[in-house]
């Protein structure tokens, strides 16, 4: 384990019955090449990384799977591009067949412009996939009620957005993320909207168990450097959460002894 986490050496992420040292889950979308992606994944320290399922392109050179297998990173297929529960269930089943994993990041979007998740279709798909034996990690809006319902439906985690996919707008409603964290009995993974390291740290300070991001790294000017920044931000935010922040006050509270200094003539 990274020595910087010595303050909390046994602080593993427990997800879907497995334990992970890294609390940063990476996506692979947007990387300009597999080499750039490889460098970024290594720098991020991630142990879980998402892939999408698409029609086989006979002309494609190299595979993202080769990179993940070489690095020993767990593959998490998503259902990106699905608009209905039926499409998402079929995609998850194809991913299970192709990749040999029953884990799925469930993503059912409502429209192309915002890529915001569709709560009705997502819930429908989640119920069907849980019944089919999947470990379901649903991408949702920052809705505490839906998060609770998905947990009750048997999902292994909930993944509320900070803001729309790829927007880099950070966490638009930190209060709702805190509400989701307060009532959740499964891991809460902040997913989508992270723009820079402080967003990832904030997610962890709010009590999220992990952060999932892609674009912030893959489209950064220097992806591997941003990946390292995200790694450290997630660790720092987690340690701050465990340490317990001081309360906010309206006025100053002296940190020096409250004894008058010797020279007090004024």
């Amino acid at each position: 384990m990274d020595t910087r986490m010595d303050a909390a050496p046994d602080d593993a992420l427990e997800l879907g019955g497995e334990k992970f040292r890294s609390r940063l889950i990476m996506g692979t979308g947007g990387a300009p090449s597999l080499d750039v992606l490889d460098d970024a994944l290594v720098a991020s320290g991630t142990e879980i990384t998402t892939v999408a399922m698409r029609r086989l392109d006979p002309a494609a050179q190299g595979s993202v799977l080769d990179v993940l297998h070489r690095r020993g990173i767990k593959v998490l297929p998503n259902t990106a591009g699905c608009f209905t529960a039926g499409e998402a269930v079929l995609t998850a089943r194809l991913a299970r067949e192709a990749l040999g994993t029953s884990w799925v990041k469930l993503e059912v979007i409502n429209d192309e412009r915002t890529l915001l998740p569709d709560p009705i279709e997502t819930f429908d798909a989640a119920e069907r996939l849980v019944a089919d034996g999947f470990t379901v990690l649903p991408y949702i809006g920052d809705d505490p009620a839906l998060a609770r319902r998905l947990e009750q439906a048997g999902c292994a985690a909930v993944m509320p957005l900070g803001s729309p996919i790829g927007s880099g707008l950070g966490i638009r409603n930190p209060h709702n993320i805190e509400l989701i964290v307060e009532s959740a009995g499964v891991p809460v993974i902040l997913d989508a909207g992270v723009g820079t390291a402080s967003d990832a740290a904030l997610a962890m300070e709010l009590g999220c168990d992990a952060v999932l991001l892609a674009t912030a790294v893959t489209r950064a000017r220097r992806p591997a450097l941003m990946a390292a920044a995200m790694r450290d931000a997630v660790v720092a935010g987690r340690m701050a959460r465990l340490a317990g922040r001081i309360p906010r006050r309206r006025y100053a509270e002296a940190s020096s002894p409250a004894i008058a200094p010797a020279t007090k003539d004024r």
């Binding site: 998402t50 999408a52 399922m53 029609r55 086989l56 006979p58 990106a80 192709a98």
Partner: protein, 66 residues
Amino acid sequence: MKVTINGMAHDLPAGTTVGQAVRELTAAPGGVAVALNDEVVRRGDWESTALGENDRVEVLTAVQGG
């Protein structure tokens, strides 16, 4: 026999199997899954599953995303 493989029309001999359809696209079908008319065909059933007229075959694999 007309079938659609990944959205492209193909004219294949009667009795063509799912496995043969996959090999129309790739010689190394690792990390690949097949849906026939929106139902998954397990890899072990590829060679014993024959295609029919107007069947829709989807051959998917993992790509960068998410």
